[in-house]
Symmetry: C2
Subunit: 703 residues, 2 copies
């Protein structure tokens, strides 16, 4: 295995530059977050100074912050919802008027062009801000948040600018009639809000409120971000418990009960805020009838549990098949995009093309369908379109396309038998499937959850309608089949594994595929099976560069600047005491500045690190003169004298468990005499994965 | 701090024997479970032999086992529910007939005696089986399961006998009219089922099905037990997601996504099984209208989230006050019971007394109340009792007492305004409060969840009725106030902390109190605040006894037998390699047996350990002759060559986090040269807690 480490470096040099994204590579450009407090002297001094009352105040602040996170996330969700509704309504009235004008006299192609242009315009705005201003705000945002909670530092993922682009982008793409949902972006928004609020300042706006300074480190911030993501889920789906479960699943390695309760609190406040403001907007304050952005109406909860069991048994195969097809198509499309559509203007054009095609396809389907349904005043279709139907009837296909997808899902679940023609459903399923697949991965801010649900609900309901043809019917209500279909489709494409425990080789989910294609060093919750053969000695990076306790500044600068030898390894001092790289960089800068201003040595405090967090200066920005290089720097205060260590014979699963459970950034490997022989970092663990031929090793790439 | 360790031993000798249970003590009689796989040579060899297919098969077995656990737990819940209903119905008809006979003519005291005798008889049976056959089956079982999941070995807690006594006991106590719920016992039952099914054998029945042998160790068993507990919650409350959250909260230290899904699967199957069989029992199979043993009817989920927020703001104070009062009274009662009522026959008599008093109090309240309500045929009161009411009316107080408490809670939530007289509610609250407080801790199998809910719902509804007197009403429906009250009371007595984040010193919950009174070394999810002053050197046990790699049998036997020096410390070999005690004991026995039968040395396999798990022989049962004592034993295969270690300067929170996150049983403390200087075990961490005067240290006791 030792040889492979060297051979990787060879392959790095030989590898052509252009194929930078590949699921067989592991990128080294991603740094790690440190979810384990570095217990250096400064940290311990502060903790020991703090009284019991101080700890209680901190605890109360945490609750306050979580309440704020929930409130703001709810507000943002409310804003998105109202804006989408307004814009969609506007578009509907313009198009409807136009269609009605031309229905009788002919010339509907003008309506089509109007529709396509309107949609493309919305999408263009959404794509431009994403492609040109903040590419990280594209897509659903859930993969990015998963990575963040996993401990991977994705640049700019929780910045204010990202939030603004995300929110504006999702409004544009939903209003632009794309086959997307707004749930993923909501979750991302919640996470950004949390990262901002908990730090008590905005580095983008250059405002520091001088509060919550204690929370300015990765460990604390991660806890709040998981609360924010939960609040986002809670607002999007009206399911506070679901939010807690989402966070538990993604973040759970080390967990404690108080955190669970805080997350639940944030989720509750978020749902509540959303409901309250929506009720005010709908002019019946206090009514609180919208539990979330999605309300699928109430199924008996036994129907739900029955459906769950049935989905595992019956819905699995079609859901799994369609899900796998969706993922495979999207995978190839993404590869294609990475290779050929990487310039922002191309991305904008592709998004506009998809918008125009979506409008055209929808229009054609509406035009050729004759799925007329009586207009039921009680039922209250929001956007009825008469088209060629008789008076008092409406075109149900048109409604399906004009409605927000959430509403369409709800209709598929709850409309009475006979509301849909089988052909309508069949054509709709196929069209929507391919459109959704094409849309996900565009440079727009958009989620894929609701489209999956809608596809599943459509084919589920179709099967429900077709079953009586064969004498196989269980329920009279096809809505229940729609529910099964939705669950199965979701399970199939997101690979919620419970659907398919019997599969011998679990296929990766859609988000996992996109994470892999970004070559992110994602550490899963368990080591791959059959990895007991590997030991720490074989997976670690070595040799390790090290410093003395009092080191010459020149040596430090040289080592930190030398990225080729030092890309992942962190300087290790003496035996097993290691100051992490960020801390060291910062110390260096302060030292240089202090030396320059000829001040007597000021004692560096934890506060200085907090003020700089999370944007420590890169080594390139630090200029050291020849004289300064000869100065000596005392690193004692900044190193962690008690890092976690493992013996070099430790098996990979054991190393993995320790690393993951404690949220480490680097783990020191020592020999019998406690001498440091290597370091295990994120990439050393992430590169082992289960491939077609058993345990495989990913190659490392600098990009 | 070192001095304190020695002073503890002094205090142990000087401490009077009788006060064995005290929340200021930490018992040393509880052993730990090992939730970290000991990666000794045998284990690693087996893991490395296993193919990828083998791992997949294991994974499928886990799903199968979880399905089975869910199914059996659902069945048991169904059995309990049906038995309780049958017995309660029987009792009701006997008493009703009797009361009706005497209502007109007088002589109701005979009815009272009949009622009291019937109740006492039921309770006597329930108390006898608990007190004489299996005391661990007493109470709700939740504290015991919490301890088990925390890693404390509570003897006999997951045995078949415990399950039988628990199930029979809870049926008796509920049918006996005690103020108890059956939810706690359901959770305990689920856990026992899980522990049994997952091992593929019953040691009690001496049947080994030779399946699931891989799961015969603490780590795997713990995962299944958490699934079983979740299935129990799910059956009891009809809330599969709630079950998952319960398990996450109690067990969560190291967690992975697949486990979450398996637990969810078990929970779903459990609810589904319960519903299915109950629907068959109620003669409308497939109807599935009972989501769980408790069905509180449907509140709009916004009402729920609104209530949640309101509870935090308003319900807290009364709920917290009453909860704290409940806990304080129960605390003193428990102390009293531990000191004076420890003989089984006394316990049975107390339980019978409580049953008789409960019956009498209920009877008196029914007799003196004139809360007559019109008998609504549609509403369908299950147990109407006319008593002195007019024809077509029934006594609502009698109904409240005769109903299963679950039904009463539901009525308080959903009955229309005007169903209850304020006086009825007030008297009921007070009476029920004291009865519930007296009942919890009796030697019967019974939970306290539903009584808490019922008390809360009663005072909540009372407040709801009284509010219009002051012009303070928000809702017309007093049922919503009942919901707030129930939530607040539950939060108050179980100390669900979200209710009171603002309190500076969180009071312990009811279960925590009972865990503390048992002096269980419970390791909470975080180290107490202000414990950064302590380091591993100060908390560890030392000196450490150690073995050589090849050791004389006599030395091993002597060290293991010497409980006084060795009560917690596990033999440590060479530098940081330690074979855990159970393994060593077992090895010793096998060695002795092998030596005796004059066999040539058979290689000891992991299978031998599994066959013996979890009841390894005590050292006293191993008799070693003088010749055998001189034999040498090679421990290489049984020791873990890569134990987790920490430097002696590591702070307590850091040690705590490592210990808790990995579910360790002992953590080796080493000096700079990697020499073992001490061991940190569960009791070393559990004895630090936050007292009135900051960080306090519990004393250690052998009992």
């Amino acid at each position: 295995m030792d040889e492979e480490i060297t051979s990787e470096e060879d392959s790095l040099k030989g590898r052509p530059k252009e194929i930078t994204h590949n699921e067989k590579l592991l990128s080294l450009k991603y740094e790690s977050l440190d979810y384990d407090n570095s217990e250096n002297q400064l940290f311990l001094e502060e903790e020991r100074r703090m009284s019991y009352l101080g700890f209680r105040c901190l605890e109360i602040s945490r609750w306050v912050v979580c309440g704020l996170i929930g409130f703001l996330t709810g507000l943002i969700a409310c804003f998105i919802d109202i804006m989408v509704e307004q814009l969609t309504g506007l578009k509907y009235y313009v198009v409807k008027e136009n269609i009605e004008k031309f229905t009788a006299g002919g010339g509907l192609s003008i309506s089509l062009i109007l529709w396509a242009v309107l949609n493309s315009a919305f999408v263009m705005v959404g794509a431009i801000i994403v492609a040109f201003f903040e590419p990280i705000a594209g897509g659903s945002g859930i993969p990015q948040i998963k990575c963040y909670l996993n401990g991977v530092k994705i640049p700019r993922v929780v910045r204010l600018k990202t939030l603004l682009v995300k929110v504006a982008g999702v409004i544009c793409s939903v209003a632009g009639g794309l086959v997307v949902g707004k749930e993923g972006p909501m979750i991302h928004s919640g996470a950004v809000v949390a990262a901002g609020v908990s730090q008590g300042r905005s580095t983008s706006l250059k405002r520091d409120f001088k509060i919550f300074e204690y929370f300015r480190r990765d460990t604390e911030k991660r806890d709040f971000v998981s609360a924010g993501a939960a609040a986002g889920v809670s607002a999007a789906f009206g399911a506070p418990v679901g939010g807690v479960l989402f966070s538990l699943e993604e973040a759970a390695s080390y967990w404690n009960q108080m955190l669970t309760w805080r997350i639940f609190f944030a989720s509750m406040i978020s749902t509540f805020t959303l409901n309250f403001f929506l009720s005010v907007y709908n002019k019946n304050p206090g009514e609180l009838s919208n539990p979330g952005l999605i309300n699928f109406g109430s199924f008996d909860r036994n129907v739900r549990s029955f459906v769950f069991v049935l989905t595992c048994e019956c819905g699995g195969p079609p859901g799994g098949l369609l899900g796998a097809l969706f993922n495979a198509l999207n995978y190839w499309l993404t590869i294609f995009r990475i290779r050929y559509i990487h310039r922002p203007c191309l991305q904008v054009m592709e998004a506009m093309l998809v918008a125009a095609v979506t409008a055209t396809v929808s229009f054609i389907m509406i035009y050729f369908s004759n799925a007329c349904q009586p207009l039921d005043v009680v039922q209250g279709e929001d956007y009825p379109l008469q088209l060629y139907c008789d008076d008092g009837e409406y075109n149900s296909m048109a409604t399906t396309f004009f409605n927000r997808p959430e509403k369409s899902v709800q209709n598929l679940f709850h409309n009475p038998p006979g509301s849909y023609h089988p052909l309508t459903l069949g054509v709709f399923t196929i069209t929507y499937f391919f459109l959704a697949c094409w849309t996900y991965g565009l440079a727009v801010s958009a989620g894929v959850f609701i489209p999956s649900l809608l596809i599943g609900a459509a084919w589920g309901r179709l099967i429900g309608i077709m079953l009586p043809v064969f004498p196989l019917q269980i329920w009279a209500d096809p809505g229940k089949y729609a529910l099964i279909g939705a669950a199965a489709q979701l399970g199939g494409s997101h690979q919620i594994r419970v659907i398919r425990p019997e599969h011998n080789k679990p296929l990766p989910g859609l988000y996992d595929i996109h994470i892999k294609l970004q070559s992110v060093p994602f550490v899963h919750s368990e080591a791959p099976p059959t990895s007991h053969w590997l030991t720490a000695r074989e997976v670690m990076s070595s040799p390790v560069t090290s410093f003395n306790r009092v080191e010459r500044v020149g040596t430090i600068v040289d080592l930190l600047s030398n990225t080729s030898t030092n890309h992942n390894g962190f300087p290790v001092y003496l035996q097993a005491d290691e100051p992490p790289r960020t801390t060291l960089l910062f110390t260096l800068q302060v030292f240089v500045e202090l030396a320059r201003s000829k001040l007597t040595r000021r004692k560096l405090q934890l506060k200085d690190f907090r003020d700089a967090y999370p944007r420590f200066p890169p080594i390139q920005s630090i200029h050291v003169s020849q004289d300064e290089r000869e100065c000596m720097m005392d690193l004692t205060e900044f190193m962690n004298p008690t890092p976690y260590t493992v013996p070099q014979e430790t098996s990979l699963p054991r190393v993995y468990k320790l690393f993951r459970a404690l949220g480490l950034r680097h783990l020191v490997v020592v020999d019998d005499s406690n001498r440091v022989v290597g370091l295990v970092t994120r990439k050393d663990l992430a590169r082992y994965h289960l491939g077609k031929h058993g345990l495989e090793e990913l190659q490392l790439a600098q990009t």
